[in-house]
């Protein structure tokens, strides 16, 4: 009875803060906010599991309202779970212990366009596609083109350190950030310093990038922008082996060339994406899409230099058409009927990143382990390699289980087992827990393995910033109460 009274009290206060029409305790809202795009949450719901529902969903309209809601949560000792567009794949925005979901979708305004210093300031509830379209209409771009551009918010990308298709040239989302406004776990509103490269102490914004809401809520952000490029050039190149393709990517990236994109598909993913979705008729080997953007003369020159490098690795130029086919249709595989989310398959993405010396080693270790250890389940392991840097690259594998358990708990247990085995193999070979999806709850159990004693830095920071441990509990594997 007292809990009911407290719920009434809290609801009443929340309505005072954000307005009655911007708070929901409706069952249908609680149900949809019990899932994101992660396989565990949607499978659990799909198979009749008790859904992890929040107690309240609030839609603040400004930073001050976010701050007041956070202060309220401290007073009542209630968890806060920030949520952008609900498209996370790790369960990071699901209220596993109940509490208040702060849905940022009302905070979706472009605040300022600086055409002198080339940056844009936006509230973080804006959908990335809406921000990008708004900029494109004015001749600019963020150059952040992730697969989930149509379904994720700017805040989601910042909180999980997202990567876009053009990250090899323009960087991940964190590389685009100039400064941010953040609501700390006690409700204090702070601004990080105006520019990220300085000697005025540590870069505050780095603490919040990838923190998945456990250190605060990013409410506004200023991003670098570029003029829309004069020209694009894309090519598809075929190699005899995946090794040759990976070696070419390494050589191109350490050469000082700046390709906007290099994507390499192993045989399985060539079948899955290049043949089935893009309709290209290709042979076995290592399939590469490479692209440049910028001034016409420069991209042409860059491609010519890159061509010498891929020819040294016996790469066969398949021409521009399949390259442009990828560019024009690159998002297709994320929409029905192609997306695996549409199915009831047991599959997951176990992406990672590593130094060049470890990329292929990690791929081989994961593939061998998964296809051997879980052979009885007829597991297929396929991958592409889609974000390349001068220091290394990413590995983007899927495992797809052919013989999946029918029992829900068995299904979930097997998923965890494969995921942990794959990710552990990755860490053991010098890779990281994840490249651009974040950790949520799915990978939080491996944080200690990844960080070792350094996890204490995050724990102390959490304790100092959020002594009541109200901010997104259970996420990132950082110790709570």
């Amino acid at each position: 009875l007292s809990k009911t009274l407290q719920e009434f009290w809290i609801l009443d206060e929340l309505k005072d803060i954000v307005g009655p029409e911007n708070v929901s305790v409706e069952d249908s809202d609680k149900d949809i906010y019990s899932i994101d795009v992660s396989l565990p949450t949607r499978t659990w719901a799909d198979r009749g599991g008790l859904r992890p529902r929040p107690d309240f969903i609030v839609f603040p309209g400004c930073t001050e309202e976010v701050s007041e809601v956070v202060q309220l949560a401290n007073r009542y000792d209630i968890p806060i779970i920030p949520r952008g567009a609900g498209a996370g794949s790790m369960g990071g925005s699901v209220a596993f212990t109940g509490g208040i979901i702060i849905d940022m979708k009302r905070m979706n305004k472009v605040v300022r366009l600086d055409e002198f210093s080339y940056n844009v300031t936006a509230q973080t509830g804006i959908m990335q596609i809406h921000l990008e379209d708004w900029l494109n209409d004015r001749g600019y771009t963020t150059k952040h083109y992730p697969a989930s551009i149509y379904c994720s918010s700017l805040g989601g990308f910042l909180a999980c350190r997202g990567s876009g298709h053009f990250s090899s040239k323009y960087g991940k989302i964190e590389d685009l950030v100039l400064n941010m406004e953040v609501v700390l776990p006690d409700g204090t509103i702070i601004n990080t310093l105006p520019v990220p490269n300085h000697s005025a102490g540590p870069s505050l914004e780095k603490w919040f990038l990838g923190s998945e809401g456990i250190f605060g809520i990013i409410t506004q952000c200023t991003l670098k922008i570029k003029k829309l490029p004069e020209a694009y050039r894309f090519k598809a190149v075929m190699f005899d082996s995946l090794h040759d393709a990976l070696e070419t990517a390494r050589k191109i990236m350490i050469s000082g060339l700046k390709p906007a994109v290099i994507r390499i598909y192993d045989e399985g993913d060539t079948q899955q994406i290049i043949k089935n979705v893009l309709g290209e008729d290709v042979e076995a080997g290592g399939y590469m899409i490479i692209g440049f953007d910028g001034f016409k003369e420069v991209v042409e020159a860059e491609e010519n230099v890159a061509k010498k490098i891929w020819e040294e690795q016996n790469g066969r130029d398949l021409g521009a058409d399949p390259g442009y086919n990828w560019w024009k249709n690159r998002f297709n595989s994320y929409f029905p009927p192609y997306t695996l989310e549409s199915t009831r398959e047991l599959y997951c993405v176990v992406d990672s990143c590593a130094l060049h010396e470890n990329v292929e080693k990690i791929y081989n270790a994961m593939k061998s382990l998964i296809e051997t250890k879980f052979a009885q389940y007829d597991v297929k392991f396929i991958a592409h390699f889609s974000h390349w840097y001068d220091w290394g690259g990413s590995i983007y594998p899927h495992y797809i289980v052919g013989k999946k358990p029918q029992d829900r708990d068995e299904f979930m247990r097997l998923n965890n087992e494969i995921w942990c085995a794959a990710t552990s193999a990755c860490i053991d070979n010098g890779g990281l827990l994840n490249e651009h999806h974040g950790l949520g709850v799915q990978l939080s159990r491996l944080m200690k393995k990844q960080y070792g004693p350094a996890i204490k830095v995050l724990e102390k920071l959490k304790l100092g910033l959020d002594p009541n441990f109200i901010m997104n509990p259970g996420k990132l594997g950082v110790k709570g109460k």
């Binding site: 029409e21 911007n22 929901s24 409706e26 069952d27 249908s28 809202d29 149900d31 949809i32 906010y33 899932i35 795009v37 949607r42 719901a45 799909d46 009749g48 969903i57 839609f59 567009a85 609900g86 498209a87 849905d103 979708k105 009302r106 959908m127 596609i129 809406h130 209409d137 149509y150 379904c151 297709n332 994320y334 929409f335 029905p336 009927p337 192609y338 997306t339 989310e341 549409s342 199915t343 009831r344």
Partner: protein
């Protein structure tokens, strides 16, 4: 859930997919993911499997959808999200769980609907015209006379019959049957793109029905039309450009009149919904927000006049606070003859 079951492929493909949420006017107006296409398909999936039960709040969600079907265009298959939501409304009717406001509205439509009367429409002519709202009958008659054809005109009165279908009540079947019996074998021009879409889907002779926009585009080149030479912005009806797959007729009509278009964002197959009509019955605030967003897009063009080609859009935009005048296509055309 027998009606919804017919759309199980759509439900399965979209129940976990948020990739169409960004185009959803209802989600944008309410901000809750429950109102997006993923939300609605997720609920239907759980309902079909028995993991969830209907309640009054959930029922209301299924009327908080414009059925504009922009979401389905995001995918590449043959799925139809709006049809799945519409089917759920038929299931809701069978469960006798319709919101009272919807029941009351349906009763008003039925009481006024002349196709459901014992003596349905008695008319003869070379061509038929079905309209509602009392404003278009005389205007169409003027056009028909100029074109030297005898038009049998039926004005349904206050309500568009299509809403019986869109609200999910089986009474639409009798209406479609009666309309099919009107001027058998002759061409019938349908004013409401909503009704035109229902007839295209449900009639025994869908080929004889033509939208007003398509008819005007066909007949105007042969008529003495005074040019206007002005600039407007254009809001296209979702049923016309998506459901009926006609992006050209409306633009052709304006071109004949020498009306220039300042294009707004979200046009043609991407056209954004006006917020009417069924969503207005259960949630007028949301309907008004959707209309306001569309009118903001119109105002951004710098135009002061918005041409619409659907009476529901006209009703939802009229009296807006953006100082935009709303011009109805048929009035515009008839005024130039």
């Amino acid at each position: 859930m027998k009606h919804t079951q017919e759309y199980i492929k759509t439900v399965n493909e979209w129940r976990n997919c948020p990739m169409a949420n960004y185009v959803c006017a209802a989600l944008d107006a309410s901000k809750t993911e429950a109102n997006g296409p993923k939300g609605k398909m997720f609920f239907l999936s759980l309902l079909i499997q028995g993991h969830m039960d209907w309640d009054d709040q959930l029922v209301k969600r299924f009327y908080e959808c414009c059925l504009c079907n922009r979401c389905s265009g995001c995918g590449f298959g043959d799925t139809d999200i709006a049809a799945a939501v519409n089917a759920a409304r038929f299931d809701i009717e069978e469960l006798d769980m319709m919101p009272q406001t919807v029941k009351d509205y349906i009763k008003k439509i039925k009481d006024a609907n002349l196709w459901l009367k014992a003596s349905p429409v008695d008319a003869n002519g070379d061509i038929g015209f079905i309209t509602f709202g009392g404003k278009h009958a005389a205007l169409f008659d003027k056009i028909a006379k100029t074109a030297k054809v005898k038009a049998a005109i039926v004005d349904e009165g206050e309500f568009d019959s299509a809403l019986l279908y869109e609200l999910g009540t089986k009474d639409y079947e009798a209406v479609v049957k009666a309309i099919d019996g009107f001027l058998p074998g002759k061409k019938v021009v349908v004013d409401s793109p909503h009704l035109a879409l229902v007839l295209k889907k449900m009639s025994y002779a869908p080929q004889r029905y033509q939208t007003l926009a398509a008819y005007l585009a066909e007949v105007l080149p042969g008529l003495p039309v005074k040019k206007i030479s002005k600039t407007v912005t254009l809001h296209e009806p979702c049923r016309l450009v998506r459901g009926l797959d006609d992006e050209e007729s409306l633009r052709k009509v304006l071109d004949i009149l020498d009306v220039k278009i300042k294009e707004m964002r979200r046009i043609k197959e991407d056209a954004r919904c006006c917020g009417g009509p069924t969503i207005k019955i259960v949630n007028p605030v949301m309907s008004s927000r959707i209309a306001d967003t569309r009118l903001t897009m119109a105002a951004e063009t710098g135009a002061t006049e918005v041409v619409v080609a659907c009476s529901h859009c006209f009703d939802n935009f009229e009296g807006n606070d953006k100082k935009l005048s709303i011009t109805d296509l048929l009035s515009l055309v008839a005024g130039q003859l």
